[in-house]
Subunit: 435 residues, 2 copies
Amino acid sequence: MASLRSWLSIPRGSHFSLANIPFGVISTASSSTPRVAVAIGDHALDLEAFAANNGFSGLSTIQPHQAVFSQPSLNAFAALGRPIHSVVRKYIQTVFSVDTTYPDVLKNNSALQKQALIPLKEIKAHLPFKIGDYTDFFAGMNHAYNCGVIFRGPQNALQPNYKHLPVGYHGRASSVVPSGTPIRRPNGQLLLDPTAEKKVPTFSPCKKLDIELELGAFVCGSNKQGVPIPIEEAEHNLFGVVLMNDWSARDIQAWEYVPLGPFNAKNFGTTISTWVVLADALEPFKTKGLENDSEVLPYLKEKDEKTVYDINLEVDLKTSSGNTTTVSKVNARNLLWSFPQMLAHHTITGCPFQPGDLLGSGTISGNSPAEYGSFLEQSNNGKDAVTLGGGEKRTFLEDGDEVTIRGVCGTDEEALVGFGECIGRIEPALTLSFA
Amino acid sequence: MASLRSWLSIPRGSHFSLANIPFGVISTASSSTPRVAVAIGDHALDLEAFAANNGFSGLSTIQPHQAVFSQPSLNAFAALGRPIHSVVRKYIQTVFSVDTTYPDVLKNNSALQKQALIPLKEIKAHLPFKIGDYTDFFAGMNHAYNCGVIFRGPQNALQPNYKHLPVGYHGRASSVVPSGTPIRRPNGQLLLDPTAEKKVPTFSPCKKLDIELELGAFVCGSNKQGVPIPIEEAEHNLFGVVLMNDWSARDIQAWEYVPLGPFNAKNFGTTISTWVVLADALEPFKTKGLENDSEVLPYLKEKDEKTVYDINLEVDLKTSSGNTTTVSKVNARNLLWSFPQMLAHHTITGCPFQPGDLLGSGTISGNSPAEYGSFLEQSNNGKDAVTLGGGEKRTFLEDGDEVTIRGVCGTDEEALVGFGECIGRIEPALTLSFA
Ligand SMILES: [Ca+2]
Ligand SMILES: [Ca+2]
Ligand SMILES: [Mg+2]
Ligand SMILES: [Mg+2]
Ligand code: NI
C-alpha cells in the first residue's frame, strides 16, 4: 500500500498514520464533556469542534448526522452504517492529505487547527462505546489446545464441538474499562489444594491472576430478535477492532466454572484500547486464519479465504521495580473463527444485537511459548516460572505489575495501522472486614 | 396482614391489591410515549400524569425528582434508592385508602382520575427497565439436583461447588423481553445421536425447547468497580422482583456448553412479567429457603433466617388446540441462595452493578414432578411424556404452545401481592435459505 502523505507532521512509526484514522471518545481539561474524535499522528481531531466549524463542508452525506460527533460514545456514529464510516474516514484522509482538495477546511485554517487538533498527551480517552452486551469467544485454537493439554491432557485437548462452532460465553458488559484503568486483584473462593478429595473452598485474593491477549470487535448493525444475521452480511455489521486484555482469575475459575462456565473469574475487569480501528482500515490486512479440518455447517461458511487480520501483537510486562519485558509476540491470524463467523453463530438463534455490542476473539496464542497469550500457558499453570528481563520470575501477575498490549498492521513506518496501547496495572486486593 | 381498603373498586383476588403497588412502564393508544405507572386493581395509575397534576402534593421528598416518572424505564426511579421507593409506595397506598388523608389529590378529583387512572386492558406494558447486564443463577437446588441426576446420576448430581457459592452465568441482556412477546423457536447445532462416538452436529430447529420457571430481581444500587457490596447491604440494593421464564434450548445447550457454559441455548429470549413488585411489598412474605448443610463463607452469611419469598407459583400450558393445563405448582422458597447472597457473591470480585441490572434465581422446582419448573425434569429429558388436560402429550414445547407463569403472595383475597402474568407463545422456527 502506497503511503499517504499529510501536511500534518506525523512521526515515523506512528500507529495513527493517514492510512488508519481510528475513532474514539475524548475529553480535555478545558472541555470535560466527552465527544467523538479521530487520532492522527500525535494528535486527536475533535470531530465535534471540526463539524461545528464547517469541517465537513465537503461531505454533504454526513451533514444531517453531525450531532453524532457530540455524543459521549460512538454508538450513534456506528449506527449510521459502514458506508458512512467509510466516506467519513476517506474524507478525513483527504482533508489531511498533503495535496488536499479541501485546503481551506483545515490545512490553511490555523484557527480551526488550534481549536480542533489536540495533542494526544492533553486528552483523556474514554470507553469508546456504551456497551450493551459483551460476548467473549474462544477462537484462538492454539490457546484452546494449550489449555486443554494443561487440564485434560493432549488426547482430549480440544472438545468435540470446538471445530464445529465458535465456542463463547456471555460476559459482563459493565466491567469493560478503557486502557489505563487500574485493575484490582479480585477476592473470591478458591481451592488451596484442588487435588484434595474433600473440596472446601478458601476465601482469598486470587493467586493466579492472568492476562488474556485478545482482539475485540464492536458491532455497528442490529437485528430484530428472532432473525439471524447471515454470514455474508455479518461483516457489514462490524464497526471496528480494538485490543483487549480479558483479565482472568484462574483459581477462582477452576472452582466455580462447573457446569455453567466462567463467572466471577471474568467479571472484575476487561481492558480495551481506546481508539477503534475501522474495519475499512483493516481491509488491506485481511489474511487466512488457522485451518479448520472439520467441515463447517453452511451458516458458518465464508466465501473469502481471508477472514482474519494480520496484526502483530505484543505484550509487555513492567514490574513494580521498573523492569519491562516483552513476554509475548504473536500474530492475530492465530484464530480458527473470524468475527463474521462469531456474529453469524451468535445470532443464528435470533439473539438480538445493537450497535456498541462487543465481541472478544478469545486468547490469541501461537505455537511456541514466546507466542503464548496468557501466563496460564507460559507458566504451564504455575509449574514453570517465566524469567523476566531483570531476572525476576513470574508464574502469574503480582501486585504492581503493569501489562501493555500493542498491535500494529503493516511494515511501512509511514503507513502503519496500529491500535495504540491497552494498559492495565494490578492493584492489591482489598482487605475486607466482612469476609 | 390486615387488608387495606380502597375507595377505588379493586376486584377480589386481584394481584394488585392496595398491599402491592407494583411499578411498571406503560403506554396507551392515545399517548404512545412510555412512562412510569403503578398497577392497582384493574387499573394503572399513570405517574407522569399524576405528578404533573399535583398528585404528589402531599409528598415533598419526591417533588424534586418527579422527572423520573416521565422516563421510558424505571432506572431513574430505582436509582433514587429504597427509602424513596418506600415512601412513594406508602403515599400511593394512602392516596387510594378509603379514609385517605389526601382526598383532594385523587379520590375527589374525577378529572385526574379520568386522566391518570387507565384500565389495564387499555395499556401496553413495556420492559420495565433498560437492562445493563443480566445474570442468571442456578439457586433452585431441587432443579440442580434433578438435572444432575438426569445427566450424571444421583451420586454426583450436585457439583462440589454447589453448596459453597451461588453458581451462575452472565446472560444476554438484549434478549430479555416483556410478557406477551412471541418467542421464536431457535435454530442451531445439535447432535441427533448424542451417544454416537463420532460427534457431528446437525443444523436444525431446536427439538428440546423448554421453559425455566424463575424469579428475576432488579437491582437499584450501584457499586464502584473493585468494591464489593457486603451481604448486609445487598438487600438495600434490590428494587423488586418479577416472574421470569428463561426459555432454554436443551439440545443446543448439550452440544455447545463445554467448557464455557450455556450460550446460544439461552440467548434467544427470556420473558419477564412487566409489573415489578417492590422489595418492600414482599417484606411480609419473607421465609426460610432450602437448608444449606455446608458451612458458607462469611461473605455469604446472612443474619436473618428468612431470606427468600413465600410466593405460590404456577405454570399453565395452553396448546394450539386451546386446552390449558397447569403443569407445575411450586413455592418460590425452593431456593438454596437468596438474591442478597447472589449479589454479594457476584460483586465479591468487584464486579460493578448499575440500577436496572437483572438477577435470575435459577429454575424453581419442588420435590415432586407436579412441582418441577422445567419440562427437562417433568419429562426426564424427553423419556416420559407429560399428559395434558385434553389428552395431548408433551416432552418439550411444540409450536403454538403458550406458557403462562403466575405468582402470588398471601391468601387474603383482598390483600394479595401478586405478579400478574409472564406469558410467551412459541412461533415456528424460521426456515433459513442460507443454512
Ligand atoms: Ca477470554
Ligand atoms: Ca435459568
Ligand atoms: Mg473480563
Ligand atoms: Mg434466556
Ligand atoms: Ni432527594
